[in-house]
Amino acid sequence: MSVLEFWASHRAEFGALLVQHLFLVGVSTGVAVALGVPLGILAARRPRLGAPVVWLVNAAQTIPSLAMFGFLLPLPLIGGLGARVAITVLIVYALLPIVRTTIAGIRSVDPALVEAGTALGMTPRQLLRQVQLPLALPSIVAGIRVAAVIGVGTATIAAAVGAGGLGEYIFRGLSMVDPTVILAGAIPSAVLALTLDGGLTLAERAARARLSGGSRRGPWISRLAVAAVLVAGVSMAVVNLGSETPIRVGSKNFTEQVILGELLAQTLEARGVRVERRLNLGGTFICDRAIRGGDIDVYVEYTGTAHTAIFRQPPDTDSRRVFDAVRRRYAEAGLTVLDPLGFENTFAILVRGADAERLNLKTIADAAAHSAAWQAGFGYEFLQRADGYPGLAAVYGLAFRAPPRAMDLSLIYRALADGQVDLVAGDATSGLIDGYELVMLEDNLRYFPPYDAVAIARSATLLAHPAVRDGLAALSGQVSVSDMREMNRAVDSDRRDPADVVRAFLAR
């Protein structure tokens, strides 16, 4: 599917995301101007008062954006998910260029002109409004331009906290390893950045043209820089895999997967195999692509996921049949499916324990009756996958108050517990289910296919390294559902290191 076809088929959604993106950038840049210009003026005129302001703004800029989202999420008022956090982060990033250029603009005003204004009888306020600000304007506009362009880029990360925007396509594309979807978000955000840059360059030029031939340095340089940053960002996110030699163990990017990756790694290490850990790779499609491309040698997959998401087969509820089908298809690709580890991790449709008790909810069918008043939250993959939300909604007749919110998996349990959303799809083995007093609804219509955890390995690797084959085979049937939940809880709730948890498990 080409990008154009993708846009055509997602027209309404694309429009909404674009509007959200513009809203995030517009509001945050506007607020940053309202805060930053006065701060810059203060700092320029009262250096002693202004120095700490500039220091703070500088320091804030050095915090990586993802980390800043993390800091802000638990805070009251600005915390929680969605646009509020995103706008706060964007404001913090927009402040620096605006404060800086305001200070530089005001300081660069010829002192002779300031003296002239004073000598003519201007009060400090009149001097500021009639002389200093108009002369600093081109510089301030340049700062706003930089802030807006940075904002367009940073706003793509806002999708990670459910604020929407074009980043949603980028994240969705990354977790599906579908460049088309990545481009569907990356191209318009680049175009948006360049358009804003161009428009504000014209504004800056107009502001400068009113002044005597002040030099205006390269819009080309800044445009090139913007393009370079975008290209670098996308390619770093997409590539970032790697090279050769030891046995490389991969995992997807959630707790259970990291634990299972650790489990494979330590089991192999115990047999004297040198292991390289490539944990937290991303979603299903990234791991699948990595193992087919030889970037990893082994990782744990779930049979149902492989069946429907990777091989695009219609959901099947017979676990044996699914296992056999998956094993055969993997074999064609030179991959070996080992015997199941012993537990099944199905999707868990979760609600708050309090709601379940009050409304007497036991099954997903029970919940469907209340869905019209609810807001749902799902991971990007679940929203997109055939065995995810679309089928679930059809089978159970779910119709929510608003389109489900797209969220990062790591945030979804908390969002439900905090009342941001009323129903989510999580992992049946998550330790957070008990930790947050959530209740898993029974899949009474048997919609979700079986999700037995199995190790998938490159057949060539198994042939070349008998120790690897023996080690992986020994894990068969060793991990029960309660084992898995316990390990998940130890990591998620007790904050223990996955490596330690696995070490303890293997030492039983």
Partner: protein, 252 residues
């Protein structure tokens, strides 16, 4: 009557005394030129008059009130000021530059408009040709004229001029000297003019004060200054002695 008076004014900047006890009266409608080397304290005297600087000791009296008594902004709007490097605002047109002080005084638009036209005419820059231009579309001499027009716009009784012709080529300068005398005759302001150029002082002023190391060493008519026997005055005259006598001989 005296329009401006300095009584025992001292001013120290850091460790160096800029003025060491200055006594000076400026009479209404006279043109007083203050001459001295750079750093002699000439510009300082102007800044004390419009309270850009405050004396460490002594008092400065303007219009019969000590400078401390004045609201500084009000005082400055009543004193025209032509700066050394003109200081036209590059983001404003000629018209808006000239209109700065009338606007600060809250004049209505029609009055400002006609006044700007009038003073631009006075300095030889017809409003219909020049008012809409921006300062960077003017020659150095034209910019200096706009500076004078701006100082005259609110019709202040006092005009302070700090090296107003310093940066101009000799031909433009002598042209502007002519204009200056015309304006002087037309408006009858009390003018304090600072220059390091004795020839300029001799040709424009009605009285000349010579400053040396923060002290007023001579204060007299141009003719008397030109003939002075005081060594410090003669040092300022230097190579101009002949030019000065020639001027006198010319019977201006």
């Amino acid at each position: 009557m005296s329009e401006i008076a300095f009584r025992g004014v001292r001013l120290t900047r850091g460790d160096t005394a800029v003025l060491r006890g200055l006594d000076l009266e400026v009479q209404q409608s006279e043109t007083l030129a203050l001459v001295g080397r750079s750093g002699a304290g000439k510009s300082t005297i102007l800044k004390l008059i419009n309270r850009l600087l405050v004396p460490d000791a002594g008092e400065v009296v303007v219009h019969g009130r000590t400078a401390d008594d004045w609201d500084p902004f009000d005082l400055r709007r009543r004193i025209g000021y032509v700066l050394q490097d003109v200081g036209l605002f590059p983001h404003l047109t000629v018209r808006d530059n000239v209109a700065v002080v009338p606007r600060l005084l809250g004049w209505d638009d029609a009055r400002i408009r006609s006044r700007v036209d009038e003073v631009l005419g006075l300095v030889g820059l017809p409003a219909d040709q020049f008012a809409a231009r921006s300062p960077d579309q003017l020659s150095g001499g034209q910019r200096q004229r706009v500076g004078v027009a701006r100082a005259l716009a609110a019709d202040p009784p006092i005009l302070l001029m700090d090296e107003p012709f310093g940066a101009l080529d000799p031909i433009t300068r002598s042209e502007l000297h002519g204009e200056f005398r015309n304006i002087q005759a037309a408006v009858g302001k009390t003018i304090v003019l600072v220059t390091h150029d004795m020839a300029e002082a001799l040709s424009l002023a009605t009285r000349i004060g010579v400053l040396s190391d923060g002290v007023l060493v001579a204060l007299d008519s141009p003719a008397a200054i030109a003939m002075s026997a005081d060594a410090r005055v003669r040092a300022m005259l230097g190579p101009l002695v002949e030019a000065a006598s020639a001027l006198q001989g010319g019977g201006r």
